[in-house]
């Protein structure tokens, strides 16, 4: 399925799937970079992602992948470059702004709200779509019931993507690892993003969970019509589900292309796949 995607070049800095060509890309990174006390963690990062593309960001440990996510979501302010989200410059926005503008993410080291229930975790993701104010909430006025009911139903609907409705009232902190990762995805989706960033979504999952995750990533893209950018070490998953792949090494992009291109790219094999073999 993924192998059938044809990537077409965009005017300057990247490749996007043919079906997204001619539409404004959802994300454009131009010369993005950050230095930590002299260390260039990410440098000259250029990437374009189509509106409904599933893209992969891969690279050895410490290559700077998570840092790219932190730059996109403004956990770190970039020292260089520009990020355009749906054509709009995100300069000066903070993390919360960027989310409201359309980027949602998960975290490599899971960051749930452990003392809240599964449903409440998802509901927090919908907070920015809710309108009733504090007085309405305290006095339990009509708005409160109306919106809470709507959110409750929507939460269950979103949880059903991963068949987690029955866990709605469980404390998020007591979920098994795999379920926590899935809940993070649901919470991110609850914010109605146009771009979903997944940081190692399959980490710690067993093969059958991973297979299900792959299906769900496609399902999410197809139902919500959003773009997905994922970081992942599981090469099966990446090659199977991603249409475009970007390879990072020492903070720099060393290759971009379809899964076939990447698998055949000597620089990638040396930097990433080759090194993997040595380790094993």
């Amino acid at each position: 399925m993924a192998s059938k995607t044809k990537l077409v070049p965009t005017p300057s800095i990247g490749l996007i799937p043919e079906r997204d060509a001619g539409k404004r890309p959802i994300l454009e990174c131009i010369g993005l970079g950050i230095t930590f006390g002299g260390l260039k963690a990410v440098e000259d990062f250029n990437l374009i992602i189509g509106r409904t593309e599933i893209a992969g960001l891969i690279g050895p440990n410490g290559a700077g992948k998570t840092t790219v996510f932190n730059l996109l979501t403004k956990v770190y302010q970039p020292t260089h470059g520009t990020i355009l989200l749906d054509g709009k410059d995100t300069h000066g926005m903070d993390t919360a702004h960027v989310n409201r503008a359309g980027i949602a993410r998960t975290f490599q080291n899971i960051r749930l709200f452990p003392s809240l229930t599964v449903e409440e975790n998802v509901a927090v993701g919908m907070d920015t779509q809710m309108k009733y104010n504090m007085v309405n909430g305290i006095l339990r006025l009509k708005n409160f019931w109306k919106e809470e009911k709507m959110v409750h139903e929507r939460c269950l609907e979103l949880l059903s993507i991963f068949h987690m409705e029955h866990l709605a009232n469980v404390k998020a902190g007591s979920l098994p690892y795999g379920a926590q990762r899935r809940l993070e995805i649901v919470r991110a989706l609850a914010t109605c993003p146009s771009l979903l960033l997944l940081d190692e979504p399959a980490a710690g999952m067993n093969p059958s969970e991973t297979a299900e995750l792959m299906e769900n990533i496609r399902k999410i893209r197809d139902t919500f019509h959003i773009a997905v950018l994922l970081i992942e070490h599981d090469m099966n998953l990446v090659m199977e589900v991603c249409e475009g792949i970007c390879v990072l090494n020492f903070g720099r992009i060393i290759a971009k292309g379809t899964p076939e291109d990447i698998q055949a790219n000597p620089a990638v094999i040396e930097a990433y796949l080759g090194k993997k073999k040595e380790e094993a």
């Binding site: 919360a96 993410r105 975290f107 809240l116 907070d127 009911k149």
Partner: protein
């Protein structure tokens, strides 16, 4: 179907709270009847309003410390702002509104509003600092407020209200009445606080705090406490919700201060020093972070305990300290707490279905 959904919601938003309200109402009814029948000793009677005030203080501080997760060491500062404002309001309105409960209600609202306004100044560091730094700043705030209170003079005479920073500068006309006298505090207060008004304030506080916790605002505040970066990543505005929680907490403390002040004929600013802030914090920690019912029980029990132990004057502080340590261990120690909870659920709960969980936990030790 839609009805069923709503019911489900309704239940969820009430769960656990009913018991808290019930506990407070039952306690009020019992105390009220005992007081009316004259079964309470004079000194014990005098503790009823302070208990209500400290319950409100503990519940409101729990909103900041337990629910929002920010350590505040200046909660008594807001109480003193409320106490002064309330007492002054009440003195100024004495002729205008002879009906005492209404005057008290207005005084509490006034105290709450002014404490809320003052908290808007403190909220600036709350937004910028965390942990120990915030604790130090709130501590300093409490002391600053107390020192300012020491040099405030307010008097009322035929010409109107006078305000100054020293007694001489007041320029009071003949027959004028001093309301606030610098280091002497607020003087000549009419004691209009009653158990019933205290109960009403406690109930209002519970409705505000418990409903706030179980609404989208409370969810966001707790999400922020659990993981700030994750909360930001789903679009939560940290500043907005921190201000909301902090100011709400201060307003309630202000109202509690007004209630407290009008239980006495005069009140010193010294009453609201660092020790009082710590005392309220102790209630919160003992009752359990984020546990509103626990705060109520701890505040009530520890306010009355020294009085009940008066007979054993020599051992009073010893017993008090031991109770503190035991309760702290049982409610907060990660190893003992699950053990105590398990013991409670398996051994005690089936036999005594109506007793309070707190006692079971203590027994569990």
């Amino acid at each position: 179907m839609a009805d069923k959904m709503k019911k489900l919601n309704f239940k969820k938003f009430l769960k656990g709270n009913a018991l808290t309200y019930l506990m407070v109402i039952v306690a009020y009814v019992i105390l009220f009847v005992m007081q009316t029948l004259g079964l309470l000793s004079n000194s014990l009677s005098g503790f009823l309003v302070p208990i209500c005030a400290y319950v409100v203080m503990a519940v409101s501080l729990n909103l900041t410390v337990g629910i929002m997760g920010e350590l505040s060491l200046g909660h008594a500062g807001f109480m003193s702002v409320g106490a002064y404002t309330g007492a002054v309001c009440s003195a100024l309105l004495a002729d205008l509104i002879p009906f005492a409960p209404l005057r008290l209600a207005i005084a509490m609202v006034g105290g709450g509003i002014l404490a809320g306004l003052v908290s808007l100044i403190v909220v600036v560091p709350v937004l910028r600092l965390r942990g120990d730094y915030l604790a130090i700043v709130t501590l300093a705030f409490g002391e600053i407020i107390r020192n300012i209170m020491q040099v405030i003079y307010i008097g009322k005479d035929a010409n109107g209200v006078h305000f100054a920073m020293s007694e001489g500068a007041l320029n009071m006309a003949e027959g004028g009445k001093m309301i606030v006298r610098g280091p002497m505090g607020v003087v000549g207060i009419q004691k209009i606080s009653t158990l019933t008004m205290g109960f009403i304030l406690v109930m209002i506080t519970l409705v505000v705090v418990l409903n706030l916790i179980r609404s989208r605002q409370g969810r966001a505040i707790m999400a922020m406490r659990d993981n700030r970066i994750a909360a930001e990543s789903v679009g939560i505005s940290i500043a907005k919700y921190k201000i909301m929680a902090f100011v709400t907490s201060a307003v309630l403390a202000g109202a509690a201060g007004a209630l407290y002040a009008m239980n006495f004929s005069s009140i010193l600013s010294k009453k609201f020093d660092f020790n009082t802030s710590i005392l309220v914090l102790v209630f919160v920690v003992l009752g359990g972070m984020g546990n509103i019912r626990g705060s109520i029980i701890a505040a009530a029990a520890l306010t009355i305990l020294p009085e009940l132990l008066r007979e054993y004057a020599d051992y009073r502080m010893l017993v008090y300290a031991i109770v503190l340590i035991v309760v702290m261990l049982v409610t907060n120690n990660p190893k003992i707490k699950p053990m105590a909870t398990k013991f409670w659920e398996e051994k005690i709960a089936p036999k005594l279905p109506k007793k309070k969980a707190k006692e079971g936990v203590v027994n569990g030790k």
